[in-house]
Subunit: 327 residues, 2 copies
């Protein structure tokens, strides 16, 4: 294993120290317990948006804390849920009279720990669960996994909260965006978790893992490595079958790299995916291309489509100022 680290134990802390220093104009880092929160005070009564999850997906979620998006993020150890004390401390720090909305990716550990935190919180709170990964069936025993669509939920609800939406409105909006969003990913290589030191799964030189999760969970099926056109068609079809967009539907198309796939290839995927939906009468009016919900050093990428209406588009376009997403 070749990593730019000093040791498995200190990696997260040292990384967060660097993050906190590099972005001290936007965020502050609470060391005990770990959470990142906005530097600037928010308007009284604003709903506080909190997310979190295992580390190793950066910039998700710490890089998305700031004006127009999250109020706080709780990073767990790599691919490990944060603990309830982190969420409680973050909530107590950023709650500002409008209540707290947790935005949670659907993984058993995350769901449980955010639930425990919620039960122990004194303030009003709600949870939006994101489960956008269509590689698993809708009736899967633990539900579908939350993947790159989470960023879309955080951005859109973040804009609404900034504009004064109530907790009930933010919760309803988050559920609506989550339901209008579907994702699927493919891995060309495995990632290597530092504590393990070897690749999470084996993959042959001529194979790819279709429907992989963002922790290197094996996917729907291994497939022979094929052209980008075939891969994009496969991913896009699964998403399209799930969302069933009508002709004339406006959409946001997000190509998300898992970490080790060059931007050149992500833009090529964007070209192909945009054509796929254009041929079906879907109008891709907004885009996001880059490494946002990563899986350490995995090569591969996911496609996310969110069906937009005018309200969602306006909220997507609203200003955002975080460490790693800005406009």
């Amino acid at each position: 294993m070749k990593k730019m680290i000093n040791g498995v134990e200190s990696l997260l802390e040292e990384s967060l120290n660097g993050f906190a220093k590099a972005h001290s104009d936007i965020i502050q880092f609470n060391r005990q317990p770990h959470f990142v929160s906005r530097k600037q005070a928010t308007k009284s009564g604003k709903v506080a948006l909190i997310s979190g999850g295992g580390s190793g997906h950066e910039p998700l979620h710490t890089g998305l804390v700031g004006k127009g998006m999250l109020d706080a993020a709780c990073p767990g150890q790599i691919f490990t849920s944060p603990t309830p004390d982190q969420m409680i401390a973050a909530a107590e720090s950023v709650e500002n009279g409008g209540g707290v909305l947790f935005i949670v990716k659907n993984y058993a550990g995350d769901v449980m720990n955010f639930e425990i935190a919620g039960e122990m919180l004194d303030c009003e709170h709600q949870t939006v669960l994101v489960s956008d990964d269509v590689s698993l069936p809708k009736d899967h025993s633990t539900g579908r996994r939350g993947v790159a669509g989470t960023l879309i939920v955080e951005k859109i609800v973040g804009a609404a909260a900034e504009a004064g939406a109530t907790l009930t409105e933010c919760k309803a909006l988050g559920d609506r965006v989550a339901n209008a969003t579907a994702s699927m990913g493919v891995a060309l290589t495995s990632c290597t978790v530092p504590a393990l030191g070897i690749p999470t799964f084996d993959i042959a030189d001529n194979e790819i893992e279709m429907g992989v999760g963002i922790h290197g969970e094996r996917g729907r099926e291994p497939m022979s490595h094929t052209s980008a056109s075939d891969i994009v068609e496969h991913l896009a079809k699964a998403i399209d079958d799930d969302l069933k967009p009508q002709k004339g539907q406006k959409a946001l198309l997000h190509i998300n790299g898992f970490g080790a796939t060059p931007l050149m290839e992500l833009y090529l995927m964007y070209d192909l995916a945009e054509k796929y939906w254009a041929a079906r009468g879907v109008d891709v009016v907004r885009s996001l291309v880059g490494n946002y919900t990563t899986s350490l050093d995995m090569a591969g990428a996911s496609i996310t489509l969110t069906l937009l209406d005018d309200e969602l588009m306006t909220l997507w376009d609203a200003p955002v100022h975080t460490a790693n997403l800005r406009w």
Copy 2:
């Protein structure tokens, strides 16, 4: 070789098509010959900034075209200089009465082709050559290579041009920033150029390549893989020896990922490098951490330090609106 492509021949064109579609609000893509330019007209008399170079370093340079930065970028094939017809066509398209400033990374092919283009241009023009890689000695036969410091030059001169600086002023400023900037990188793995299909260089599992170039040129020396602290110390010392900053000097610290190194590790490097200079009385007041001058799928990173004065800091802070750099 596992790449998300349809074929080696079509990769660049398909990728640029996707880039152009995803960012059609900011840039336009000229297909024959290839160049990317700003969508919105600039103020009459503004100096036009043009850069370019081989592809495979994205977001450099195409992702840096837009308000406050480049007026146009000319992408060559992967790791291959663009040709003079691209630069001439770009210059004729974006020249707006203020003359043209070429910002060129110091590689023989790039230098030659920008020179030929300059000779064939009718309008006033100047060139800023960036050669910030301190892994080569100052008196190296072809000079030092231009690497991640190029972005810093483009950002700062871009802000000045936007604010109305003349061609002579932009040229002098560019030279000044280039001289105040030094970089050095390390590779943990090689990149794989699609047309070649195999890694550019061999590197043992327990070795790293210190002083590597952004095309996978072998570096100053192979070293045993060691801790991030040792690696950062090694890189930072070479930069510090070159720039010789005084105590109290303000600086911009840029940690640049080569493509496959997780953001977590880049922020960890930022923490260590900031500490290195803090211990020497250098005040790191600005930061940029992420994958900006990449080398396809290479794992590794470079450190860049730019010595700042108040003018350079103000220009660095000025608004920028490109596909891949915004504030």
